[in-house]
């Protein structure tokens, strides 16, 4: 009697083991998922952007050069986008653009862009300044911080990946978080009357 009991236990064991093995495999797979972690680098790589020199004419001798292919490395790193969010307030961008809704300066969370929505456009806007209000931050903000701010500005209208965009504010939320903002299709809004040259 006792022996048969033991045998039944022994026979049952593989079945029990197989479910345990599945759980184990799932756990291991979950562990593997955590292997892909964003690398935070503190030493900044040299910029792929170049500082634009302001020209007063759009006409160039010969054919125009091909547009340089640029990418903003900060747009792939959640840490850097969050730094951009911090700097947006600390460097007082919010003084004119408010929390993206605009006020003294244009809104940044909508789909309308006066001077272009590409990273290099926003970079140029910050570095060069724009007529009627936008100051030039050339030499005042280090290059890598400008890239962080550019990435954050684009996250405001949902242009960045959801896992990179900031998830919540430290303060009371005045609007949906950047992560939950739906992606807007950028449009050229044209120059507002206040910015047109007389």
């Amino acid at each position: 009697m006792r022996q048969s009991n033991i045998r039944s236990l022994v026979e049952r064991r593989p079945r029990k083991g197989s479910s345990a093995r599945i759980v184990l495999i799932v756990f291991c797979l979950c562990g593997l998922m955590s292997c892909k972690r964003e690398q935070r680098t503190f030493q900044q790589p040299p910029s792929t952007f170049k500082t634009y020199e302001l020209t007063l004419s759009d006409i160039q001798p010969g054919s125009p050069p091909p547009a340089p292919s640029l990418n903003n490395p900060a747009e792939d790193r959640a840490y850097e986008v969050n730094e951009g969010k911090r700097l947006f307030t600390q460097y007082n961008c919010s003084g004119c653009h408010f929390n993206g809704g605009g006020g003294i300066g244009p809104a940044l969370m909508d789909e309308l862009w006066v001077y272009g929505d590409k990273p290099e456009n926003i970079y140029a806007t910050i570095i060069e300044g724009r007529p009627n209000g936008m100051p030039s931050f050339r030499h005042k903000i280090p290059d890598n911080q400008v890239r962080q701010i550019v990435a954050y500005v684009r996250s405001m209208s949902g242009q960045l990946r959801k896992d990179v965009a900031p998830s919540r504010s430290d303060d009371m939320n005045s609007r949906r978080s950047e992560q939950r903002t739906e992606r807007k299709t950028p449009q050229e809004s044209g120059l507002p009357p206040s910015a047109q040259r007389p």
């Binding site: 935070r40 503190f42 030499h139 005042k140 280090p142 890598n144 430290d170």
Partner: protein, 346 residues
């Protein structure tokens, strides 16, 4: 025989080391059992009370353990012990009960003493306001603003807090980012700095000296490099220091210093740092009005020398990875004058 002597010698060596370590820990500038103020004195007394009582209990337990081993009964005589009515068994049971009761009594005494010490540390807070200093925790440095009824006498400094000896000082603690904790062990216990909330403590230094404080609540990558210094000095010395600290920055004199000021105002420095008396007025980073008179930079991380300052300005991420100061690609022709200017800000 040889082995036994070796064991004896190593045990002796270990004990000597332990005693030496204890002796060393009695001094020091960041040590709660080297008190320099009334509150730290209370904390220290409480600590020693707990130490002596626990040491006595430990010795008693060890002695009874060794006595029990020495008086162990042989295996054959174990059988009669199973009878609970035996005299020896009753005695043992009484010993266990009285030890348990004694433990509870000791713990209660500790509880009451500890509670009353904790209460007395913060008692009469409102009377202890000979001087109020507003300390704000940032990742990863300390901002200190000396409050004054007349607004023109309010000034800000960072990481180095001078206080007069023998006077209670009120600290109003706040934070701009995450929770930090203000702890200067020689003077007072810990108190957290919580964003959106103001915590208050007072402390008093009775002995002049320099005491090191440290953030005591994990606050991110450079938590370990978030130190501050309390410089306790006589009232005359403190007043002289304060009078200087209230002044706006000295004007640059040499050509090099003048160029240094231009570099400061035209580059990224001006976006975060303030130098009173110049257009630089941002309060994101430490106030640099009197940076030349401070002993350390980067929240107590490095001595304030020309080399360290240059390293910090050019590549601070090398020293404190993750800190909020960006890299600055200044040319040698700009950096040297900038250092001249910053060092002249006494």
């Amino acid at each position: 025989m040889k082995l036994r002597r070796l064991k004896y010698q190593s045990a002796l060596l270990f004990l000597t080391g332990l005693v030496a370590a204890t002796m060393v820990s009695c001094g020091g500038i960041q040590n709660s059992i080297n008190p320099a103020g009334p509150q730290a004195q209370k904390i220290s007394s409480l600590w020693w009370l707990m130490f002596y009582v626990c040491a006595a209990v430990f010795m008693a337990v060890m002695i009874s353990l060794f006595v029990a081993i020495a008086k162990r009964t042989s295996h054959s005589s174990l059988q009669p012990l199973l009878n609970p009515l035996l005299d020896g068994e009753r005695r043992r049971r009484n010993a266990v009960i009285s030890a348990a009761v004694l433990t509870v009594v000791i713990m209660f005494v500790f509880l009451i003493v500890s509670f009353s010490v904790g209460r007395s540390l913060t008692a009469e807070l409102s009377n202890k306001n000979a001087l109020t200093i507003e300390v704000t925790g940032h990742q990863w440095w300390w901002e200190a603003r000396y409050l004054d009824p007349s607004a023109s006498n309010i000034f800000a400094t960072a990481n180095e807090i001078h206080i007069p000896v023998g006077v209670p000082i009120t600290f109003s603690l706040r934070s701009t980012d995450v929770v930090h904790s203000f702890w200067v062990p020689n003077l007072m216990g810990k108190k957290d700095l919580i964003p959106g909330k103001i915590n208050t403590i007072w402390l008093q230094a009775d002995k002049p000296g320099v005491y090191r404080g440290q953030c005591a609540e994990y606050c991110g990558l450079q938590h370990a490099h978030m130190a501050l210094w309390i410089v306790a000095e006589s009232t005359d010395q403190f007043n002289a220091w304060r009078q200087n600290a209230e002044q706006t920055s000295v004007s640059p004199i040499t050509d090099s210093q003048k160029h240094g000021q231009e570099v400061f105002l035209a580059s990224a420095c001006v976006m975060c740092h303030a130098i009173n008396g110049t257009p630089a007025g941002s309060n994101i980073g430490p106030n640099l009005t009197h940076i030349g008179s401070r002993n350390t930079i980067a929240a107590g991380t490095l001595p304030n020398t020309r080399e360290h300052l240059a390293h910090w300005i050019i590549n601070s991420q090398d020293i404190k990875p993750g800190n909020k100061m960006p890299e600055n690609n200044l040319s040698q022709a700009d950096l040297e004058p900038l250092l001249d200017y910053l060092q002249s800000l006494k």
